[in-house]
């Protein structure tokens, strides 16, 4: 074997699978990530796909590693194209070191291809649907996965479909195993396994948001399907019976948000999950949340706009939308999960914050985070509490009692002797419509006064790196792991990262980190450096250096390393 991938110790290997929509790339991703994990490998998967059900080119990158891996790389170590177009689709990322495995009867190309006769073998087993399992077999062999483990997993997984299906899938895997032996002459990839990983949880961002919602006491979700936010609605719908969740597919996003507000008003804990276009329709409802001081949690999964944009791609361009949506002035919080763990914890927290301050709280994610998978050691559920702030009302209850903090005790209808009156018109302390302009001023001030407390509870930004940095990278949301891995590659003690998991309100410590830097470099998946502009507004620091990307794809580690070096110079002077 000449390929240096084999037989020498590896730290991490990037596998890319690519084919048409409908060819089962997602199925492959599903089985491979699980099989690698139960074998003790750290695993990460991210997909890029087209907004179509058939045809085109969709790909998944799976990284298999001896340590945590959580970011996309440009590098392809093993490439499995399922057709010729797939090869062309990712041609720019193929290097002389890329091992390409494919069915030469189908793929016509100049590249050196290890011929895996998928079509022929699958036909002998029972049809094209077994092609995926043959590929699983090949990779299992290459990665020294115990065949018995795979077979046990498949037996369990396909049990409901009957023994014939189980047997054929196992046969496909075995055939793949043998093919790998034939093709690579027994050569294998050596990555250290860690038995602890077997007990890790494998989640994607959508599942993490949904689980976080459940942990936050969510018992109502109303949503209208829209990529990439739909996974959250699906997950909560599937577990609605177990957790007593009302999951309703609304007729439109306007209905969804008004339902959610009705649910909170009556004592529920509701979530809406949407993407830019759908959220645009919700903005009047957001303003209603502000005026009626009804709590609300909004999961806003970003995709590239304007309008329909690129429905299945990623971007961080709706920060300004979340920040400015809704007419009038009212407090809000915007949380921006940086990891799958964060997606869980921050969604959980969003419910408590919303209830505590009676405000809308955003969980701002994006397609990249929502669709990516990796293994997580655990979710610390014991420390999480569902904080409820509903009070029992007395006969003279006033929903909008003017208080020092601005927060009025929140009652719900039917709990106590009082009446709970909320109004989208300006209102008096009882909640009844008023045009008394002195009262109007008091109510505006009461609503905005809550911001003081909210700011006190803001999440501080995280700093990564040495204290005496010269260059400070600034990021927010899903770019986290990619920047962290780029930092490792840079291996320079003069570069640090300041990372925000809450972008609004900004924690007041931000300035102290920015002051110390010679160069501040904003890294954002958008074209106008929206967070940089927000930082400038709050701290006065101008976002002079910007690394921006808006091609619908997440950054890759190599991308960032190159772009950061271009700004700070290639040599470590310190």
């Amino acid at each position: 074997m000449s390929d240096k991938l084999f037989n020498t110790p590896q730290k991490d290997v990037s596998i890319v699978l690519c084919g048409e929509a409908g060819q089962g790339i997602q199925t492959l991703e599903f089985f491979l990530t699980r099989i690698f994990k139960i074998s003790g490998y750290h695993v990460y998967a991210t997909k890029e796909y087209m907004s179509r059900i058939r045809g085109g080119s969709n790909s998944t990158q799976i990284r298999v590693s001896s340590d945590y891996v959580r970011a996309p790389v440009r590098r392809i170590d093993i490439f499995i194209p399922l057709n010729t177009e797939a090869l062309k689709h990712l041609e720019r990322n193929i290097t002389p070191n890329t091992v390409i495995i494919g069915d030469k009867e189908i793929i016509k190309s100049e590249y050196k291809i290890y011929n895996l006769p998928l079509t022929r073998i699958a036909a002998a087993i029972g049809g094209r649907i077994y092609e995926n399992m043959i590929a699983v077999g090949v990779l299992s062999k290459l990665f020294k996965v115990n065949l018995q483990n795979v077979e046990d997993y498949l037996k369990n997984y396909f049990a409901v479909k009957g023994s014939d299906v189980v047997e054929k899938n196992i046969r496909a895997v075995e055939e793949g195993y043998n093919e790998a032996d034939r093709l690579f002459k027994g050569a294998e990839i050596n990555i250290m396994k860690n038995p602890e990983v077997r007990n890790h949880i494998l989640l994607n961002g959508a599942e993490a948001v949904a689980l976080g919602a459940i942990a936050g006491g969510c018992n109502f979700i109303s949503a209208y399907p829209m990529s990439p936010s739909t996974g959250v609605l699906v997950f909560l719908s599937q577990h609605s019976k177990t957790f007593n969740i009302i999951a309703e597919q609304a007729e439109d996003e306007i209905s969804a948000i008004n339902m959610a507000l009705g649910a909170w008003y009556a004592g529920g804990r509701a979530l809406v999950s949407t993407s830019g276009g759908g959220f645009s329709l919700m903005t009047e409802g957001l303003s209603l949340a502000g005026m009626t001081e009804t709590p609300l949690v909004i999961h806003l999964a970003q995709r590239p706009g304007p309008a329909t944009g690129l429905p299945t791609r990623t971007e961080q361009a709706d920060l300004n939308l979340a920040l400015h949506a809704g007419h009038g002035e009212f407090p809000r919080v915007i949380l921006t999960p940086s990891t799958i763990e964060d997606a869980f914890y921050l969604t959980q927290k969003a419910f408590n914050l919303a209830d505590k301050f009676q405000i809308p709280v955003f969980v701002l994610t994006d397609q990249y985070l929502i669709d990516s998978y990796y293994n997580i050691p655990e979710l610390k559920l014991n420390q999480l509490d569902i904080e409820k702030y509903v009070v029992k009302t007395g006969r003279d209850y006033k929903r909008y009692l003017i208080t020092e903090s601005g927060v009025s005790p929140r009652g719900i209808p039917g709990y106590g002797e009082g009446l709970v009156v909320v109004d989208s018109d300006e209102h008096d302390e009882n909640g009844h419509i008023t045009e008394n302009l002195e009262l109007r001023v008091k109510m505006v001030e009461k609503r905005l006064r809550k911001m003081e407390l909210i700011e006190k509870e803001a999440l501080p930004p995280e700093i990564h790196g040495e204290e005496d940095y010269k260059h400070l990278l600034v990021g927010w949301g899903s770019t986290y792991h990619c920047i962290i891995e780029a930092l490792k590659h840079l291996n320079r003690r003069d570069v640090a990262l300041l990372f925000f998991k809450q972008v609004y309100p900004i924690h007041k410590s931000a300035s102290s980190y920015l002051e110390k830097a010679e160069k501040i470099i904003f890294i954002e998946n958008n074209a106008t450096c929206q967070f940089g502009m927000l930082i400038q507004q709050f701290t006065g620091f101008k976002p002079e250096n910007q690394i921006l990307s808006y091609n619908g794809l997440p950054f890759t580690v190599e991308d960032l390393v190159e772009k950061i070096e271009r700004i700070i110079g290639g040599v470590n002077e310190s």
């Binding site: 139960i38 077997r198 007990n199 890790h200 949880i201 494998l202 989640l203 689980l211 459940i214 942990a215 006491g217 018992n219 109502f220 109303s222 577990h239 609605s240 019976k241 177990t242 957790f243 007593n244 969740i245 009302i246 999951a247 309703e248 007729e251 439109d252 306007i254 209905s255 969804a256 008004n258 339902m259 507000l261 009705g262 649910a263 008003y265 009556a266 004592g267 529920g268 509701a270 009047e284 409802g285 209603l288 009626t292 979710l379 559920l381 719900i412 209808p413 039917g414 106590g416 002797e417 009446l419 709970v420 009156v421 909320v422 109004d423 989208s424 018109d425 909640g431 009844h432 419509i433």
Partner: protein, 288 residues
């Protein structure tokens, strides 16, 4: 006059003297009293408009939300706490115009709420433009040559969607309208009560007199369980029928169909969260 527990003292009502809304308010309060509904267990959800101010003028829990959006909020309120009596009340513009899509889908869901629509065939609060139910040739400062769009027929639409209770009433008839509202409130499932309501300021065509002359009551020969017959009645226009057009007593409500209420009827807000189930679900992600 006897005091009604739904009365609120010292309120500044924003309606014109003589407006049909006063009668509807009184009828509603009396119907609620007669049904022994407690203000604390009642939620009135409204949108924006003159009609939508109604809940401010009686004792109730109130969710006065956005123009056109009362039905989604009302549906959710009833769903999270089915023990409440929930009314969604607004004007014709609000319910059938801005909220038209929700009207259709609320009927499809069949939540256990009463939908009262003050149908004055005009936009009152915004000073006299045409509403979806304005009749042909109705002139306004905007529809300067008169309305030429086909008037929206809420009853036909509701019956076409197999709404579980469909009625039309007239604000000028205290006795009959109160009976209809009481039946609607007692009905299990979605109940539409479209009420002809004279707007004395902006609708000089469809006056008290006009409504009296151009309506008649469905009599006992009308079979409320016959959907086709009901539909036929609903498209009559020369003289508009009043009364209960249609009832489908066999429909499950939205709430009853929801998974959390499949096995019990405890409001979800009273159900305790079971963390062990969440731990189980998270653990299932180790091996699924």
């Amino acid at each position: 006059m006897k005091a009604n527990p739904f009365d609120i003292e010292n309120i500044d009502i924003a309606w014109c003297p003589g407006c049909g809304n006063y009668s509807i308010l009184k009828i509603l309060k009396d119907a609620l009293l007669e049904l022994e509904i407690k203000p604390e267990k009642l939620v009135i959800v409204s949108g924006i408009g003159q009609a939508a101010k109604t809940p401010h003028y009686l004792k109730a829990n109130v969710f006065n939300g956005l123009h056109g959006r009362a039905l989604p909020a009302a549906t959710a309120i009833k769903a999270v706490n089915p023990s409440l009596t929930v009314i969604a009340e607004s004007g014709d513009g609000d319910m059938y115009g801005e909220g038209g899509n929700h009207f259709i889908h609320a009927i499809r869901r069949n939540p256990g709420i009463t939908n009262i629509v003050h149908n004055n065939m005009v936009y009152g609060l915004t000073k006299g433009q045409a509403s979806p139910t304005s009749l042909i040739n109705f002139k306004t400062p905007v529809q300067v040559e008169g309305v030429f769009n086909e008037p929206f027929n809420p009853l036909s639409v509701a019956i076409a969607l197999d709404a579980s209770f469909v009625a039309r009433a007239f604000a000028g008839d205290y006795k009959e309208t109160k009976e209809i509202i009481k039946k609607a409130l007692k009905h299990k499932g979605y109940a539409l009560v479209d009420i002809f309501q004279p707007c004395v300021t902006y609708n000089k065509v469809n006056t008290y007199q006009w409504f009296k002359e151009n309506t008649y009551y469905l009599d006992e020969t009308h079979n409320v369980y016959d959907r086709l017959e009901a539909f036929k009645k609903s498209i009559e226009t020369g003289k508009y029928p009043l009364g209960i057009f249609y009832i489908n007593p066999n429909k499950k409500t939205f709430e009853e169909n929801l998974p959390p209420y499949k096995n019990n009827s405890i409001p979800i807000i009273e159900q305790e969260f079971d963390k062990t189930k969440l731990i189980e679900l998270v653990n299932s992600k180790k091996n699924s």
